[in-house]
Symmetry: C2
Subunit: 189 residues, 2 copies
Amino acid sequence: MEYKEPFGVKLDFESGIIENAKKLVRKLSDMKGYYVDEEAYEKLLKEDPIIYEVYAVEQEEKDGDLNFATTVLYPGKVGSEFFMTKGHYHSKADRAEVYFALKGKGGMLLQTPEGEARWIPMEPGTIVYVPPYWAHRTINTGDEPFIFLALYPADAGHDYGTIKEKGFSKIVVEENGEVVVKDNPKWTE
Amino acid sequence: MEYKEPFGVKLDFESGIIENAKKLVRKLSDMKGYYVDEEAYEKLLKEDPIIYEVYAVEQEEKDGDLNFATTVLYPGKVGSEFFMTKGHYHSKADRAEVYFALKGKGGMLLQTPEGEARWIPMEPGTIVYVPPYWAHRTINTGDEPFIFLALYPADAGHDYGTIKEKGFSKIVVEENGEVVVKDNPKWTE
């Protein structure tokens, strides 16, 4: 029988970079329609800042195998809404995921297919368990990069379409210097 | 449909403890037959030191779900052989695992069912990918607790029996102050 070769790679705690990983960059221009304040979005688009970078080590899509990736989510806001990842369900909806916060400050917004939402604050050392079926998005509520490691089944897949179309039922904004989780005015069930 | 509830838990980087996790303690007396030097084992048994502690957060054994656990593996030797975990294959042999070293110094010994071995050194920041089918054991080669986080499919299961009976084909010992990976004199295929 042929076996895959084990390996060790280095994750740099300061930068979040995993050596030899596949890098993905999401700029503001990749996220049209994701933020509530469209005027603020268009204005910031002139700079088109990087919102987040992902360093992923992935296997073939096979049941029982595992992928892992770090995300470096930059600080900033579009209007009053904090910088965030696109968020996704898993294509195989019953796949779980585990996040481990390493640096910075933020949280995870989760949502069932029916739009029931949860907010879990994250700081270095927080491990978040994402159960099967929940969409999930991470949000930087601090003023430095928010860095975390995620592990997910190799056959989970990403369903971005549902969130792109409908968004989350909640948004996370700054109001009077506070982090506030409130209803998304554009949400329709 | 009923959904499981997402949650966040805190991992303490200094102690390796995960709050509200299930704690498991392995003392030397739980590891009879695992170390090569039986005389040194019997002698140290009078103290019966804790070899390692595990803090696990586990789900039901279900395909696509994920468990995680930290291990605090203490420094020490039985004769010249470094303190180590029991090591195991997965009951569902095609389940992968990912380890993430947080503190201390050590490594992972891996082995195929045919006894082909690998040694991967680990230090804080090292992520080790354990492919399907490989047995794996961690070893503390330093002089402080070696702490790491492991993530594994919820239906992986632990097959300890094969290693208990046959051991690994390699052992990791200290020779003249160096970490040496050498053939296990008791290994039989």
